[in-house]
Subunit: 236 residues, 2 copies
DNA sequence: CTTGGGTGTGACAGGATTGTTACAGACCGC
DNA sequence: GCGGTCTGTAACAATCCTGTCACACCCAAG
């Protein structure tokens, strides 16, 4: 998902000893617009991370030689100033592993088997999280609708409302492009992901659910017949 | 001309040596509104892809002679500037095959047996992904009429007005060729599409609807008796 | 003034698009 | 596993759009 302004191309380091997984992850990150560095073991990963200073590292937990855990630990210790975020891949789904992973410096984890899309989303999520140290563009406000991406919260006229994940993303995208027409295709791309294979009518259904929850602010989501939808500020 | 709206009918090349599969895929793509070119082997596929420059190619991985993989590789190498996206069909479901397919230039893959519906969705997904998000000059202004293609909005003397899809396109075309005479045939071509089978009188009707909505600016759409229409800047 | 082709106007039926509802399957926490 | 929630899809209804037609009107040429 490319948010309002296209960010500079970011470098991601991917480290996994299984060639298939390495390819799969790399490819999908590339398609999402990232520049990818590949490493097939822990030592290589550590070296590349030091030399190239990627924006994020995707590490397999289990690797011969230096494990992902150890790499993460070392990275965390060394580069104190601007720590590189870590996304951990793990074949084991036991809770223990997860917690250990997080404690030791991973910022998030994904258990195998994972969908390519999930990886990309997580990476983007972590980067977004890192990008905004203090109140960047993670606060959207249009009319009486407030969206807080950090807290993942929506308030209408100050009152917090419950939104599902999809609804939240859809609303966010519409709001950050307030006033501009969004075709169903664009919405599918940016809300559901670039590799989504779903019907455009699904957008309509979610728009309806959105309007339902928006209540009095439902009018702010306009239908542009034949083209798509658009969020508008209230006339007031 | 492609407004930020409905693209012209897109051509898809489908290549498979099994007649049944070829028919099935072609038929479903046609029903989804695509124009379909068929090829029953790799050589034919390559030739058609070069000559016809389809918007997307659906390739069977296994074909006698030139395999889908080889075709994809060749295509990828040749048309560097505007690469044609490839959807690969494969009978093998092994993960390795998939990754290999993707690395060698396919943008997505579907394993047999697949549902016709899935093919169509994937194709649409890939095309969606490929679409250039940023158009360029998207602001037109003539006299008191402003057309904003991004917001998909028309303003007269600053006030936003509602226009239907056809009206919007017609107005856009007239405005971007302001001052120049447009025959009904040209308008049919550029507003309705190159293969429209529509009476020229329809243009008149839409011109009328346009004038109606333009209100005070209706005079800016001139009739050139015997030839067509023309938009002019107000005398002021 | 008359005529004939070209254009404006209003109505309309069919089609396309969107709103709405229902539902089955996926997913998740327990 | 088991309930409950979330989601994508399908089906139907309501609405809007649109191409066409018939007819009125206008203009220019005779």
């Amino acid at each position: 998902m490319s948010l309002p302004t296209k960010p500079a191309r970011k470098r991601i380091l991917v480290a996994d000893d299984e060639p298939d997984v390495l390819s799969l992850v790399s490819l999908n990150l590339q398609r999402a617009g990232f520049e990818v560095l590949k490493a097939s073991d822990g030592e290589q990963a550590l070296r590349l991370a030091r030399e190239e200073e990627p924006a994020l590292v995707v590490l397999d937990l289990m690797m011969p030689g230096l494990s992902g855990l150890e790499v993460a630990k070392l990275l965390k210790r060394e580069v104190q100033t601007s720590r590189i975020p870590v996304l951990m891949l793990t074949a084991k789904s036991e809770e223990v592993d997860r917690i250990v992973g997080l404690e030791l410096g991973a910022d998030d984890y994904v258990t195998k088997p994972f969908s390519p899309r999930e990886i990309v989303l997580r990476v983007q999520s972590i980067l977004r999280r890192m990008e905004t140290p203090s109140g960047g563009d993670d606060e959207l406000k249009v009319g009486c609708i407030q969206v807080d991406r950090v807290r993942h919260e929506v308030r209408i006229e100050g009152k917090p409302l419950e939104f599902t994940a999809t609804e939240f993303k859809l609303l966010s995208v519409l709001m950050e492009r307030c006033g501009r027409l969004q075709s169903r295709e664009v919405l599918l791309n940016d809300v559901w992901g670039y590799e989504s294979v779903i019907d455009t009518r699904t957008v309509d259904t979610h728009i309806r659910r959105l309007r339902e929850k928006l209540g009095p602010a439902a009018d702010m989501v306009e239908t542009v017949r034949g083209f798509g939808y658009r969020m508008v500020a209230p006339v007031s």
